[in-house]
């Protein structure tokens, strides 16, 4: 008797969960489907779900309308560049705070995190004017540097929470065996730290890829990543749903795939280790 009830319960929860998941996912699915329709099919009423003439012409047109690959390349360079630059600066800091914490380490970490809470509106104007006067507006270097700065606190925190889990006895043992600091870092610490560094990198590439305040305000065309490119579709020209969908699909596909790999790290990274 109990068995039958729990079997039924299992089925009803399964169906409910799938329904909810499909509703939440539907806008993305719909965008992907629409990207393969003709513009006429894209606004057909009643809507065409699967039975339409599948076409890839939108993808070609999006590229013709504006150089999609340039924006894609910009997104790749900016998100990976800002993450690598951030790691370069953050790894030594996180390493020393995790293994040689001082009295003020905790305060320092908190202060670093607090910089993340400064609203962009509070610094938009000086950043814009500084960028304008130094010729950094619409340059890849400029936007990469800013994204590195806004993600630096998260990178440090994530690395710190990972490094802290490396048992320090191992380092002491290596030191006892006479390992130099260089050897200690290269042969002992690095292999143990790689998974943490990798997930920090993954999450920050995603954050930088989707960042849409500074990219929209500090880039226009030459250095514009996909966020800015997609925003150019906000003023519609004739029928454009299928083209918008094609552009959107290309903009979200790479990061969606990366994102699915990063689910676990996402929780711990974005809650600064408060929820694991």
């Amino acid at each position: 008797m109990t068995r039958r009830v729990s079997e039924r319960r299992r089925w009803s929860f399964t169906i409910l969960a799938w329904l909810v998941a499909l509703v939440i996912f539907f806008p993305i699915l719909w965008t992907i489907l629409t990207s393969f329709k003709s513009e006429a099919d894209a606004i057909a009423s009643p809507p065409k779900f699967l039975f339409f003439d599948w076409t890839t012409e939108n993808y070609a047109e999006v590229q013709a309308r504006s150089p999609y690959f340039r924006h894609f390349t910009n997104s790749v360079i900016i998100s990976i560049g800002s993450t690598l630059l951030g790691l370069l600066i953050a790894i030594p800091a996180a390493w020393s705070m995790a293994f040689q914490p001082g009295k003020r380490t905790k305060d320092l970490l908190m202060w670093m995190l607090s910089t993340k809470m400064m609203p962009a509106a509070g610094v938009l104007i000086p950043m814009y004017l500084l960028f304008r006067s130094s010729g950094l507006l619409d340059t890849r270097f400029g936007i990469t540097f800013v994204l590195m700065l806004i993600n630096l606190p998260i990178i440090i925190w994530m690395l710190y929470t990972y490094f802290r889990e490396i048992p320090s006895e191992i380092l002491e043992a290596a030191r006892m065996d006479g390992a130099s600091l260089k050897n200690e870092i290269v042969h002992v610490l690095t292999p143990m730290a790689v998974p943490g560094i990798a997930s920090t990198m993954l999450l920050n590439v995603i954050l930088a890829w989707n960042e849409a305040f500074w990219t929209l305000n500090l880039t226009t065309s030459k250095a514009a990543p996909l966020t800015t490119f997609i925003a150019s579709y906000s003023s519609p020209e004739g029928l454009f749903y299928a083209k918008l969908s094609a552009a959107s699909t290309m903009a979200i596909a790479p990061i969606l795939i990366l994102g699915w790999f990063s689910q676990k790290q996402l929780v711990r990274g974005l809650t600064f280790g408060a929820v694991k």
């Binding site: 962009a120 305000n217 749903y241 600064f272 408060a274």
Partner: protein
Amino acid sequence: MATRHQKTLARFMVAPSVLLLLGWMIVPLAMTLWFSFQSYNLLSPGMEQFIGFTNYKYFLSDPAFWTAMANTLMIVGGVLAITVIGGVVLALLLDQPIMGQGIVRILMIAPFFIMPTVSALVWKNMFMNPVNGLFAWMAKAVGAQPIDFFAQYPLMSIILIVAWQWLPFATLILLTALQSLDSEQMEAAEMDGAGAWSKFTHLVLPHLSRAITVVILIETIFLLSVFAEILVTTNGGPGYASTNLTYLVYSQALLQYDVGGASAGGIIAVILANIVAIFLMRMIGKTLE
């Protein structure tokens, strides 16, 4: 015991991060503060002069400011209500023994990875458009009048879009917290004859309280500065109906070239965020212990 040598080394390793963040925090913020006391318009360069608190007076007495303030709070409050309540419900659902849980999770988390400009434009055009959108078609199919979302309910439409992006985040964090709930404790409660509701209020909810706090505080930081979703859908309109503080500062500075007034707005945004931040820092500080 750390030697002096090691201590010096540690300082060197932390220094670049500290200096960069210090510069990032102090230089622009000081400039914003300075501009906020100036009469400074990009259209009339060379005319800058010190005018004390006049910008603040204008900004605070502008009805647009209070509308923007109310909208900011509405966005934060609305999205939080949807995502926290929805997140708890969805986390409880996902915690059940369901088939294909991995795929369900993957589908549910997806909106979080969509860039804001994409999700806003997709929702605006393909769903909420009063002529060609899917919602309009659904309304017509049941014989109702299609809703012109962005004309009639601009702020609510933006709240819906932003909530769709953040619901997965809340769900994922609450689910992670839920999975660390002690199953023995749950079984013991069942033995004692506790019903589903009393288990929820006495065991589950207290266990989730910390995760819920984290969700609220982290979402608040991001929600206070919602920007792209407004820029690509309503441009803050109609009128100021969907302008929040961040968007107001942006439009004052980069559309109306009023650097002084916008800076005063920026400083007010900083103060607002600081009030929130104080709570957040306290909370995270506790988890460090």
